[in-house]
């Protein structure tokens, strides 16, 4: 029992430690990038489930992040006042899902509450994942890769072309998200620590969920599928259902990350749906170890943190490209599974033994 809790406990200790260290050295600003990295990591661990355990490549996961983020941004900023006489708006209003606000010009606004928007966004993302997943997951190999890539591009084109989603400028002035009395997701400096913990609690919760999933029947089924689809099928595993299940779950993770990060940043732009972002997530899962969620989490935090601080400068994309190639050439099972120990051992042992 203790062993199972060990890794999460270390993570919690690490997180708290960082926060205290930052407070002590008066460098609390690092928490900003840690928070953002946390949200991206939520997406990455979901993707790890799909790619590592179910063995399905997805080159379009940024699309789900964008669906979550954009829908919650649009619903909480687009004015429903012009439609207030319609049945739908009246129904939403009486259900308490709408809230009055002000736009940047001081004009009155009627928008959806963040909670309702969040739930709607995540549900819609899950539904889209379900609908897309059914045909897409029947494909294999290159076809699957291109289908997911195509999906990601369509989402990008949709948000770029539509003025409801802000076109090339994206959506800004996204209000803060009051989770519970006293807990708000927003970008202000005074709530930094609170937001840090909100983000990482979500990630911990996600890790917990995934870990339990992986160690359960479902996880074993997924691993069987990854190993060999035909073999899994022959022992009675319903491949299609499990693949779809993991795909939808990962889409939910991505959408939640999108919703929360959008409220944290107060804005979202089409760059969040771009192909490069999807590839970046795949690179992180690959380097962390395809079927190693702790590895994926670890590398995600490091790489996203560095990228968000601008350490890679103008060569940000190139760094991820190089990582992809190096890892795939030399360490296809991830950097933590190179088996460095074994390789060193064989190097030093006299030959011909």
């Amino acid at each position: 029992m203790m062993k199972k809790l060990l890794a999460p406990l270390i993570l919690v200790a690490f997180l708290v430690g960082i926060q205290l260290l930052c407070r002590w050295t008066d460098t609390l600003y690092y928490l900003t990038q840690m928070t953002m990295a946390g949200y991206y990591s939520l997406l990455v661990i979901g993707l790890c489930l799909v790619m590592g355990y179910a063995g399905q490549i997805s080159l379009g996961h940024a699309g789900f992040f964008a669906i979550g983020g954009y829908l919650s941004a649009a619903l909480t900023t687009r004015n429903l006042l012009p439609f207030q006489k319609t049945f739908l708006v009246k129904a939403l209003s009486s259900a308490g899902l709408l809230i009055s606000g002000q736009d940047i010009y001081g004009e009155k606004l009627l928008v959806v509450t963040p909670w309702a928007a969040c739930i709607a966004a995540v549900l819609i993302a899950a539904t889209i994942a379900f609908l897309i997943g059914i045909p897409v997951l029947k494909l294999k190999g290159h076809y699957l890769a291109m289908a997911t890539l195509g999906f990601g591009i369509i989402i990008y084109r949709v948000v770029l072309a539509s003025s409801y989603f802000g076109g090339a400028d994206g959506i800004s002035a996204v209000p803060s998200f009051k989770l519970l009395p006293g807990l708000t997701v927003n970008g202000s400096t005074s709530d930094r620590v609170q937001n840090y913990y909100i983000a990482w609690t979500l990630v911990l919760f996600g890790m917990f969920l995934l870990r339990n999933l992986i160690n359960s029947r479902v996880g074993r089924a997924l691993r069987a599928i990854h190993g060999s689809e035909k073999a899994a099928e022959s022992i009675g595993v319903d491949i299609a259902r499990y693949k779809l299940y993991s795909f939808v779950l990962s889409a939910v993770f991505a959408a939640v990350a999108g919703v929360f990060l959008t409220h944290y940043n107060g804005s979202i732009g089409p760059s969040e749906a771009s192909v490069m972002k999807s590839i970046r997530y795949v690179a992180i899962v690959a380097v962390g170890g395809m079927s190693h969620i702790w590895g994926a989490l670890f590398m995600s935090v490091i790489l996203n943190f560095l990228s968000l601080r601008g350490v890679f400068g103008s060569y940000d994309d190139a760094v991820f490209g190089v990582i992809l190639i190096l890892i795939m050439l030399f360490a296809p099972n991830g950097i933590l599974r190179i088996g460095l120990g074994a390789k060193l051992k064989s190097f030093f042992q006299p030959k011909g033994e």
Partner: protein, 382 residues
């Protein structure tokens, strides 16, 4: 003994540092968040280079009131989430006194609330009107308003007796904003838009859509509002189709490179722009001429590429910031007031006059109508 000797050396070195003149002078940290690479790099690249050049020049003159400037430039590649992260870094970690940029309107809007809450001045190099309207205390911008550009085009059209136009725009923020302004302002000048198409910024051939709108005999002129390379592609496709109606472009046509890209097809294009493009042809009495000529000379000799109006936006932002800091010192909360007090300040984009309600400082006179003749920019006269 050896240890003591080392300690002495270290102490002596430390002491000697104290006596170096200027060792205690403060550095004024200024941040810049620009899209140096990525889709908006034609904006951010010249802007970043201009800033580097100007900072070196200012520091050589002794900085501002004796304090050297340290410019920290961050490359967002056009992503708003990076702009947010870098801005927070610059404000909280580097504790910059002001931020110049970003290059695009989308990124600027993402930052508006953040800099207001952090009470840090932001001088944006992006053009959207919504950046300064509604006015936010700490947010300014240097590029001219798109509405002025549209108005100038329509004024010209009225003179040419053109009343029905086709509008082509790119799907970038700039194109979208321009299209919106055109649609809003056209009726005021009695002009009707009979064709309206949006294309992808990466489109490489527009002959199909040109053929389509050419087939409409009502079209008397075409307005193209986009960034490169579409500006040259539209010109080429139109002239290849044998279509001789006037082609108007936006103030995004601000670099002679774009003229070269279109080759012979670029001749005759009419567009509003800042006077940088025809600096040498301005009369000597023009308040902008001297600084424009100097900027172009310095930029082109240092970076071996043609100067553009985009780099000029960063030039203006920097010079305005320097003037404000000279007046009130490196104080975040006082700088906005100082900027608002700036009147009749010549820059590359025009002559700036700020106020509490005008955080852009330019009027329609900042634009001059230009045309292309024999591959060169010329002021446009009917």
């Amino acid at each position: 003994m050896k240890r003591f000797g080392i300690k002495m050396i270290v102490a002596a070195a430390a002491l000697s540092l104290l006596t170096v003149p200027g060792a205690w002078a403060k550095t004024i940290k200024v941040g810049a968040v620009l899209a140096v690479t990525g889709g908006a790099s034609f904006l951010g690249g010249p802007e970043a280079r201009t800033l580097e050049m100007l900072v070196a020049e200012q520091n050589a003159k002794g900085g501002i009131n004796g304090d050297k400037i340290e410019m920290i430039i961050k490359d967002t590649a056009g992503s708003p989430e990076k702009a947010v992260s870098f801005t927070k870094q610059l404000i909280e970690e580097d504790k910059v006194v002001a931020i110049i940029g970003p290059s695009t309107s989308g990124e600027t809007m993402a930052l508006k609330k953040i800099v207001e809450d952090a009470k840090t001045p932001l001088i944006s190099c992006a053009a959207a009107e919504v950046i300064v309207n509604p006015v936010a205390k700490y947010v300014f911008k240097t590029p001219q308003n798109d509405s002025f550009a549209a108005e100038k085009i329509f004024q010209e059209m009225n003179k040419m007796k053109i009343s029905k136009v086709a509008v082509l725009s790119g799907n970038t923020g700039f194109g979208h904003a321009g299209k919106g302004q055109i649609e809003k302002i056209a009726p005021k000048f009695g002009i009707k838009i009979v064709e309206n198409e949006v294309y992808d910024k990466k489109a490489t051939d527009l002959s199909a859509v040109i053929a389509k709108i050419k087939a409409n005999p009502e079209v008397q002129a075409v307005i193209n509002w986009s960034i490169v390379p579409a500006q040259a592609i539209v010109a080429k496709n139109m002239r290849q189709a044998g279509w001789k109606v006037p082609l108007f472009q936006s103030h995004g046509y601000g670099n002679i490179k774009y003229v070269k890209a279109g080759g012979v097809a670029s001749n005759g294009i009419i567009f509003p722009a800042g006077r940088l493009l025809v600096a040498n042809m301005l009369p000597d009495t023009n308040p902008q001429k001297a600084l424009l000529v100097k900027y172009i000379k310095d930029y082109e000799s240092k970076y071996k590429e043609t100067a553009s109006t985009f780099g000029g936006h960063a030039y203006d932002a920097f010079k305005i910031l320097v003037k404000a800091i000279e007046a009130v010192g490196p104080n975040r909360e006082k700088i906005p007031g100082a900027i608002e007090n700036i009147k009749n300040f010549p820059g590359t984009g025009g002559v700036f006059t700020f106020s509490a309600t005008n955080h852009n400082g330019l009027s329609i006179d900042a634009f001059e109508m230009m045309t292309v003749k024999d591959g060169k920019f010329m002021p446009y006269t009917m």
